[in-house]
Symmetry: C2
Subunit: 381 residues, 2 copies
């Protein structure tokens, strides 16, 4: 596509002192400053945010105008945890429409002030009321997927643990990550169950944070950076909301369909992808997604998450940022944060965790129990 | 723009028995059936919805897939009460991007099951926390605008009452309207104050409802209808969230800026507009908006709302549908419902309330106390 990402902004993820407006402002200002420009130079802004119930604040577009001190055309988008990927998609469509040249995207969520039980209830609104009324929450829905994956393919708790260990290890080199603490497979295996077979270390945390990217028409990108990153392909698909409505518990058809579209648009195949940020809200999600993205055959995820392939020095690094598991998961910010990581990697600006010799990166951002998915592919210019 | 509206769908507004998914399904199905097509023929869907707190349901994209029985690319957008106008804007951008041919838009809100005090609190989240923490709610914010308008321009309660009377009268011919009941200026004047000078009949109600439009590339529209309506121009602007941050209490700069853009894109001026649906969440809002849209000079709104100009048989009918006041205001559905009315009028399909001899209609959809505005102009093909 004739759309480039030219700069990024990213607050620390975790428990932050800023309110939701301050988080947005910090991420936006960093992206604008990194492109040596200002808010009044931007033609439109997209905000991704999951739920107004965490901060009792809707109308984030108006709030962002007040924070930036200048009006704009600002739109919030949402499709559960896939909000961030969608905001990046909408920004690309705005540029491709020919009506906008430069578009800022900001993802945000402020969750830490909400008690955990209340937060769990708010997050459950991303699923079907039938499921929720029968007692399901997101940990239990993903636990069902894991149980079935174990049954069909011989995947084991140790395989899932290795995903958590890798992502925590990667986050050691990410100063913005919520957990910068190494863990071991043994530690994961001995941690308490949340929803069997998922233990506390299989689950991503509640987080505050914001992330931002500045996008523009390809012809303009050198005005803002010497290292533009091209938005090569995007795919989006919305599947049934209920896990029980899906033919298989071990597949996310939305991911497969979104990926197919993104690969087709970019002219790339899974084998061409240098590294990926995937949506590890639970460790089983990372495993299912790397299968549905075509990085290995269905059922073989357990092999590549343990044989070193997905380590940062492997042939296909997954979640070099630390992923949702260790970097944190401020829901609306996550999809944009994935793009920030891919762009920073491709700009050679990811510090100690920079992956050398890669020209393409992929983001897989899902919502609900896989009911929505956005897959985006980026390429060094 | 090379974008047409080809069909519409609209549930009754008011207290409906359907849940939020059923409301969406009914509006979408009607729009699809009116174009003799099906959900699988649509390339993308945009949903407008204000708050998940009314129905405890986020991830409406996944829910709509489940209701329609077929997946798609579905995105929810929000900017307070301007969500509907924004969804139509995003659908137009998707078509203009060249990546999508046919896009469905569905606005929805299910509010009647929420107690009034809780609903008032949820709606207040569309404003600044500073205002809300000091005791403001939306009736009181719009009451401030009215008080100042009275002070500056000699507007009186009777002028506002005439807006309510007209909109109730128009709704008598709208079988989908929440209030199909004639009222008099005397009845409005004798009704109880909610926030002085606004009385109960100056306020729009809490409502359930959904609305939908099917949009496509102009070249394709004759496949779906003999009476396509062209989306001639659109404008969007996001101002400060707080009323206290605005220079004047009697103007909505977001409306003026959005209108300027929409007029420019369409090549039309206020004098070319045949009729308009404007956002009369409170009667004072209709009066301020018709001024800021350029239909009369600032301060002269009181004249054209009482001299017959804005009556359905006047020279510039305003809110032929009954407006938010009488048709109802299911927040996320409102902006799309405005487009439905304009399209039906331009298709000559508005029954007894059809305005004869008009070729252009305008929609003005605002969010918050005017912190966001979307102005859209449509023209008979």
């Amino acid at each position: 596509m004739d759309v480039d990402i030219v700069s990024t902004g990213h607050t620390p993820f975790g428990k932050c002192s800023e309110d939701i407006g301050g988080l947005m402002l910090n991420a936006c200002n960093e992206a604008l400053e990194n492109a040596n420009t200002g808010a009044s130079d931007v033609d439109a802004i997209y905000i991704s945010n999951f739920s107004s119930s965490f901060s009792n604040q809707c109308q984030l577009p108006g709030l962002l105008t007040s924070k930036l001190g200048v009006g704009n055309e600002i739109t919030r988008v949402e499709s559960a945890c896939a909000a961030g990927g969608l905001a990046v998609k909408e920004a690309a469509l705005a540029i491709l429409s020919g009506l906008y040249d430069k578009v800022l995207v900001c993802g945000v969520e402020k969750m830490s002030e909400t008690p955990t039980d209340k937060a769990t209830e708010i997050i459950a609104r991303a699923s079907d009321q039938e499921e929720i009324n029968h007692g399901a929450t997101f940990p239990s829905l993903f636990a069902l997927m894991a149980q079935r994956h174990f049954h069909e393919y011989g995947t084991m708790e140790e395989h899932l643990a290795s995903v958590a260990v890798k992502n925590h290890k990667n986050a050691l080199n990410n100063s913005l990550a919520q957990f910068q603490k190494e863990i071991s497979v043994e530690k994961v295996m001995n941690s308490r169950y949340i929803a069997s077979p998922l233990k506390i270390f299989d689950c991503s945390p509640l987080s505050d944070g914001a992330s931002a990217v500045l996008m523009c028409r390809k012809e303009l990108s050198r005005k803002y950076t010497d290292a533009p990153v091209n938005f090569a392909g995007m795919g989006h698909y919305t599947d049934y909301i209920g896990l029980y409505e899906r033919k298989s518990l071990t597949e996310m058809p939305a991911v497969a369909r979104a990926a197919k579209k993104a690969y087709s648009m970019s002219g790339l195949s899974p084998g061409d992808i240098g590294f990926a940020e995937v949506h590890d809200c639970f460790t089983i999600a990372e495993l299912v997604e790397i299968e549905d993205l075509g990085f290995c055959k269905k059922g073989e995820g357990k092999n590549i998450v343990t044989d070193g392939t997905t380590e940062i020095d492997g042939s296909l690094p997954i979640n070099p940022s630390g992923g949702l598991k260790a970097k944190g998961h401020p829901i609306g910010a996550t999809g944009v944060s994935q793009v920030v990581e891919v762009v920073k990697q491709l700009q050679g600006d990811a510090g100690k965790r920079t992956i050398s010799g890669v020209d393409t990166g992929l983001c897989c951002n899902i919502g609900g129990s896989g009911s929505s998915a956005v897959v985006s592919i980026f390429r060094r210019e």
